[in-house]
Every structure is written in structure tokens, then in C-alpha cells.
Amino acid sequence: MTAKPAIEDLLRELAPQVLGVLVRRYGDFYAAEDAVQEALLAAALHWPSDGVPDNPRGWLVQAAVRRLTDQFRSEQARRRREEAVAQEPPAGEVGDRDDTLILLFLCCHPSLTPASAIALTLRAVGGLTTAEIANAFLVPETTMAQRISRAKKSIKASGEPFRMPIGDDRARRLRSVLHVLYLLFNEGYTSSVGEELHRSELSGEAIRLTRLVHAVLPEDGEVAGLLALMLLTDARRPARTGADGELIPLAEQDRTRWDRPLIAEGTALITDAVARGAVGEYQLQAAIAAVHDDAPRAEETDWPQILALYGLLERMSGNPMVALNRAIAAAMVHGPEAGLKLLAALDKPLAGHYRLDAVRAHFHEMAGDAEAAITHYRAAAARTTSLPERHYLTTQAAKLTPR
């Protein structure tokens, strides 16, 4: 008998390879994906008691093909297969790694909403079951099954062939993939809804998938930058929540609890990527994370460098959230008044966003204006949709209230 977690890891590693083989052979991503999912479920059921077969990949391919042929038995399906065979790309030497990347390009198709792309990526490339994905996103399994099925239909309707995009198209599509992986990581890190501050399994999965992409494209600076950003951020996770699940801000975290090996790996990655030129947004964000992680104490943070990096990032992205972060860095370097001045320009682009109120509250607190700080902490608490953040902001207001 083999331990269950080991089998799960193996299945998830093999999932995209097996799917790649089937799509290559039969051309029908929609049906092949279902067949692979069923084969994975069968393996998860039998392998723990029967033992892992000598050739697990071959076993899965065979099991999936058997299911696919069952599906193809009906008259209509047979026609579909004949068409599929006619469209089948010529056999060639294609590595599993390329297949994984092509699958990612498909699953992160621009016609899909991010929520659909994430779900489909987790299933088709990540090898997670529909039940596991539903559980991670706190929705009923039938809802998630529908979301995945609709995503697959959209891809089918797009007529996207199973092959590597080329030229500009490839670069554009890679950006979509990285964006989906970034959103998946964030979903796990600062869960956008509900009570749990981070659902580490989603972040872990985002890191695993980004590692796969990095292994295929080691020379790509933005892939390396994104992976570094995830590692450098995830390294702080153990210190980010207290005993009751409450949020602990960066400045108050116990830095001895940060994951040093992850920081070392992330720092090496980003240093190497930046040295190769053509700096992109993920690399800048990773560089900022590296500066934070480099400070043994919050007071030793190199804020002038962070301010400069945010300046570059703001020029590149034009994102008001980046401008908000630059204001924080400016306040740390030049004082709260400088920060407040920068915030004034964000009233319109970030109107009604709780983060603007939260940052403004923090600056007023730094400046010693408790009354204004309380007002803005309360406004932020009223508008956030994250329970741990609401608790944190409520407590900040309470701490300043005279009694």
C-alpha cells in the first residue's frame, strides 16, 4: 500500500500529461478532459488498496481512452470521432511539458471569465476533482461542475486548436495565463470572501502550476518574476494570522516565523530575472516583496527603495491600487502629510473602496489625528467584504477611541 498523499501528488503531476496525450490523439478537449477526470477518480479509488501500477501514466492513459471510446460509441459521437481523427495533428515528438503549457493556454483562454479559467485550470492542469475545487471556493459541487462545463463549451466554440500559439499571440496568451495564476494565488492568500484569511491549498496550487510554467520557460523574466512574487509573499504566511485567525499587519509580524528557504529561493529568482533586463510588472512586485522580506525588523525596511520601485510600477501599470501603495511608501519615507497629499488624487479612481479609507486612517493615526483616523477606520470596516479585515479595522478604531 502506498500512502494516500503520495498517490494524490502523483495523480496531479500526471493529470496534464495524460490529458495532453488524449487531446493529441483524439482532438476533442471537451470529451478528453471528462475522460481523464474519470480515470483520475478511478485511480484515486483503486490505487491505495491495489497498489500503484508499474506504469501509472500508461494505466491512466488506457483508463481514459477506454472511457473516451465508451463515449464515442453512439452514432453521433462516432461521427465526431471521425472528424476529430481527420483533424488530428501529425504525430511528432512533443514533450509533456509543452503539452502542459498548451493546456494552460487553452484553460486560460481570453474568452473565459477569470473565475471560469481558474476552475478549469485547477481541474484540467492541476488534476483536482470538481468536489475539491467546489470546496475551495465554497460553492456547491453542482455549481462548480456547471461552471467548468460551460468553460469547456466556450473553448470548444472558440475553435482553438490544440497547439502552441506563436509570435505576438503567444506572448499575449502567456500574459493571460500568468494573470489567471496570479488571481488564483491571491484567492488563496487573501481569500476575497468569507472568514478564512488564507486558503493555503489554493496558493500552493498556484505556486505548483507557476513552477511548471517556469520549468518550460526558464528564460522568461515575467514567469520568473511571478513565481518569485508568490514565493516571497507566501513565505510570510505563517506570521500573517494570529491564534484566533486574526490579521497581523506586516509591521507587527513575528519575522522569525517567515519561511527563510522560500525567501532565499524567491530572492535568487528575482535577482537573476532582473539582471537579464526587460523588467516587467511581476518582477517589480517581486522586487518590492524581496525588499520587505530582507528587513530583519520592520523599522529596518528600505522604504526609499520601495518608493522608487512603486514609482516604476505605477508608470508601467497606471493602476490606482499601485498608486495607493506608492502613497504608503511615500508616507514611510517623507511622513504622513506626504502620503495624505498623494491620496487626494485617488478619491475618484478608488471612490468607495475600503482600502483608500483604511490607508487614510493609518496616515491620520501616524500624524496623531485620532479623530480623523477613527472616522476612516470605521468607514473602511463598513465597506470591506473580508471578515478578518473588518475585525482588524474595527479593532483599530476601538484602540483609538477615548474611554
Binding site: D244, G245, R383, T384, T395
Partner: protein, 133 residues
């Protein structure tokens, strides 16, 4: 087993200031209480779902009569005296147990650890008709 929806209304309670004015340790105790209650219901196998809702400041009312554009209004406004703050759905043996849980939730600690006596609405979830023998 019948299911019940326990609705937590936020309403001004006489003698209890808004939570942002409580002492930090009272807020902490209140949050810990909600956490423990959720854990208890989970451990007993009674909790179906429980969620807190985002504040009413960002809420919207939507009406649409099928023609033109839907009417979307902001509200309830921050001054609203009462709004839905969150809910639990529980799957329990009977109504008595649902009421018992509601009572426990209502006694969440406020300033100085004194139970605030928040009003909890208990509504049974409708089910399919029972199978005739």
C-alpha cells in the same frame, strides 16, 4: 431533519454602543464567541452554512419591470436603524434545538462581557412534501 435559517439582525440595542466604540478586548471576546459557536455547530454536524454579510453602506436595491433599464438604488443607508448582518443555516432535530442555538447566539458578549441580547429571527426552510406511505 428540518433546516432552519437563523437571521442575525443588526439593530441598535439600548445601552449597547456600536462595536467600533467597544474596548479592543471586548471586540476580541465577541469575535472569539462567534468563532466558537460556528465551530461547535460544525462539530455537532448541525451547521449547513453561516456567513456574515458586508455592511449596508455598499448594499443596492434593484427593481426591474422588464422594460427600460433596471432601477438600482443605494441603500440601506448607513443611518439605517436595522439591517441583516449575517445568518446561519442549521440542520437540526427540531425547532426547539434551533431556538436553543438562536438563544446562544443572541447572548454574544458585548462591552464588559455582558450578553448583548441581539435579536435572532428563526425561520424554517421549506422542504419537499413527505413521501406518502
Amino acid at each position: 431533519m428540518p433546516k432552519f435559517l437563523l437571521l442575525m439582525h443588526y439593530a441598535e440595542i439600548e445601552g449597547v454602543p456600536p462595536i467600533t466604540e467597544w474596548a479592543p478586548e471586548d471586540i476580541k471576546a465577541h469575535i472569539a464567541f462567534q468563532h466558537t459557536l460556528g465551530q461547535e455547530l460544525t462539530d455537532k454536524g448541525e451547521l449547513v452554512d453561516g456567513q456574515g454579510l458586508a455592511g449596508p453602506e455598499a448594499a443596492k436595491f434593484v427593481t426591474f419591470r422588464g422594460e427600460g433599464a433596471p432601477v438600482v438604488t443605494d441603500g440601506p443607508f448607513a443611518e439605517a436603524k436595522e439591517f441583516l448582518a449575517g445568518y446561519w443555516m442549521v440542520d437540526v432535530d427540531n425547532e426547539a434545538r434551533a431556538v436553543e442555538i438562536a438563544a446562544q447566539a443572541s447572548a454574544a458578549p458585548g462591552p464588559g462581557g455582558v450578553p448583548i441580547g441581539q435579536e435572532i429571527e428563526v425561520r424554517e426552510v421549506m422542504s419537499a412534501p413527505s413521501v406518502e406511505q
